[in-house]
């Protein structure tokens, strides 16, 4: 138990303790995390607590982060790759409020714990960093089997035939695999996970990484993990290669680059600017800022 855990707990119940959750809840979360790491890709059920932000806004990720954080940690929160989007700002403010001592970071390399929604940072993470992903749908089989009890059996038997059939049907209908995000990914040769709504661009980052990836689904009450140095292979066919998003202009054939930092190796957000012209910009704000800083320093 952490020394500051008991502090700040007002007898009237008006104030909140360190990291919001009661100690039993944090212990349960940590045990679920251990189990998830020991069985890579397996969805570990846990009694997800209600958080003061709504379900669907990252309550699963938040519980993981709260169970991980101690007062010496440095936390970074991103949503769609950005630190300053409303939801990221809101979650960061909650950590600041309930985790005294914990510092915040915008730079990817400075954080010990990074909570994210929909993106994995471009900067490869180190062994001493943990990436916590917020998960809306933990089970990749939900698209082919609505019944949870049957899905559990299918996972146990590594019975993923229907997922492949779905991919095959895609090929027949569109000559393309149409899964754009939440790409089913096989972990350590057995369980297939839903890697959360990250774009395909981010899926290869899961494979044999240095860092620990933790996935938290609050509403669906599941935790799973891709531990460091673990195989993470997006499922596909021998003759159909897995492809990440292409940012190549279809008429000129040139790759779009970030309008701020000029990066041609990052996932780009596409949007119309004030004049209605299509522009592109790094989705990972920290990556963009780091490149701009370097360019400024070089000048």
């Amino acid at each position: 138990m952490h020394p500051v855990d008991a502090m700040g707990q007002d007898r009237d119940g008006a104030a909140y303790g360190f990291a919001f959750l009661d100690e039993d809840a944090k212990r349960e979360l940590r045990r679920a995390i251990f189990k998830a790491v020991c069985i890579p890709g397996h969805q570990v059920p846990y009694a997800s607590r209600e958080m003061p932000i709504a379900r669907g806004f990252g309550t699963g990720g938040m519980q993981l982060t709260l169970a991980l954080l101690g007062p010496s940690d440095c936390v970074k929160v991103i949503d769609q790759g950005a630190d300053d989007s409303v939801n990221a700002a809101n979650i960061r403010a909650f950590f600041a409020l309930t985790c005294p001592g914990v510092t915040g970071a915008l730079r990817t390399e400075a954080a010990s714990v990074i909570q994210t929604r929909h993106r994995i940072p471009e900067q490869p993470l180190r062994a001493d960093q943990i990436l916590v992903l917020q998960v809306p749908y933990p089970d990749p089989l939900v698209v082919v089997e609505p019944n949870a009890a049957r899905r559990r059996r299918m996972h146990g038997r590594a019975d993923y035939a229907r997922l492949w059939v779905k991919l095959y049907e895609d090929m027949v209908a569109f000559d393309e695999i149409t899964i754009s995000h939440r790409y089913p990914t096989r972990i350590n040769g057995h369980y297939i996970i839903d890697p959360s709504p990250i774009p395909r661009w981010d899926v290869p980052k899961l494979h044999r990484a240095e860092c620990l990836y933790l996935f938290g689904a609050g509403r669906e009450k599941r935790i799973y993990a891709v531990p460091p140095h673990t195989d993470a292979i997006p499922i596909t066919f021998n003759d159909v290669a897995f492809a990440v998003e292409s940012f190549r202009d279809r008429t000129t054939g040139k790759r779009h680059v970030c309008r701020r930092c000029g990066a041609d190796d990052s996932f780009l957000d596409e949007f119309p600017d004030e004049d209605g012209v299509r522009v592109f910009q790094c989705s990972d704000a920290a990556w963009c800022a780091m490149r701009l800083d370097r360019m400024e320093a070089a000048e």
């Binding site: 119940g13 909140y16 303790g17 919001f20 959750l21 009661d22 100690e23 039993d24 809840a25 059920p45 009694a47 997800s48 607590r49 209600e50 958080m51 709504a54 379900r55 669907g56 806004f57 949503d79 769609q80 790759g81 300053d84 989007s85 409303v86 939801n87 700002a89 809101n90 403010a93 929909h118 993106r119 809306p136 609505p146 949870a148 009890a149 569109f174 000559d175 393309e176 149409t178 754009s180 995000h181 939440r182 709504p197 990250i198 774009p199 395909r200 661009w201 509403r219 009450k221 599941r222 998003e245 292409s246 279809r250 008429t251 996932f267 780009l268 957000d269 949007f271 299509r278 989705s283």
Partner: protein
Amino acid sequence: MAYVAIRGGADAIKGSARLMDALRAMGASAPLELDQIERQMPLLHSRVLSEGGLYHPRLASLALKQSLGDSLEAAFFLRAYRSTKPRLGETAPHDTRAMRIIRRVSAAFKDIPGGQMLGATPDYLHRLFRFELMDEGAERFADIARDWFGDRPGAQTPTTFPKVLDTLRAEGLLPPLADDETPPFDITREPLIFPVPRSAQLSTMARGETGGLLALAYSNMRGYGDVHPTVGELRVGYLPVMVPHPVTGKPMEAGEVLVTECEIVAMFEKADSGAPVFTLGYGACFGHNEVKAIAMAVLDRAISVAREKGRIANPSEDPEFVLLHVDGIESMGFCTHYKMPHYVTFQADMDRLRAARAKTGEAADAPR
């Protein structure tokens, strides 16, 4: 891009919170007192207590005040607050015969032991506006109270009432109550992994969202199901809560909770002993929420039918379908989350659509 501009996110949230607060304070109305919410909107208050799953009447009032009267949001406040509290102990099962009744009806029998007691209900009121309520003063309130209590003799109602269903049980028309010693499933400490025991089913519905429970139960009543319920007994009242003394372990009264309980009798089934018996559906929740308790009892019966027959014929009989979709905090949260930015996934969607369109020979996106 103002939505996500640097600092913009945090500043926008602050501004939004200030505006929420300002909405309450605008105009000339006096600040709501917590007591007014509990007293004058007891049914809304009850709903929040029950869906929040935490019996804290004062905080339920605060939640309604802070959430500008949104019942889903208010219940959410109670739930989130609950996450900060450890589980200190467990109570033994409570017998609702010990309830201090404020209302009790049976649709099965004209007369019941202890008598029907209509209590406060809008059931038989005409929904015609009483325009005089648009302008009431404190004096009028005092008059109403004086009128009500003035001609009332002291406590004359009995403190406990027998259960209507006991009569049916005595006659053998309902199966005898089985003594179940298994500890109840605690949905606040364990996730639902199907199949789940009936205690998990009941506690999930006990804090379920009223509208969600009603919609599913109504589908069963209308034809997507065949429970055909009769309200054996519906009672509302205050139930003394007995908790084991931390030192002696002896039960002691810690207070009382307002509870609505509904037992429905459904069509008969063949029993193990051979003779057919009626079947039972059970609903109970915090606060005064009759529609919720009845809907819950119908769904309890519907799910049990499917379990007994080993066959799910309708959505309301499927425990996964019902139990995973009736929680207001979860469904409201997930519905709300679609308002958050999704541009990374949408970017990925566009990439796939463009690729598929290019392959099918359609004009790919024309550069502007």
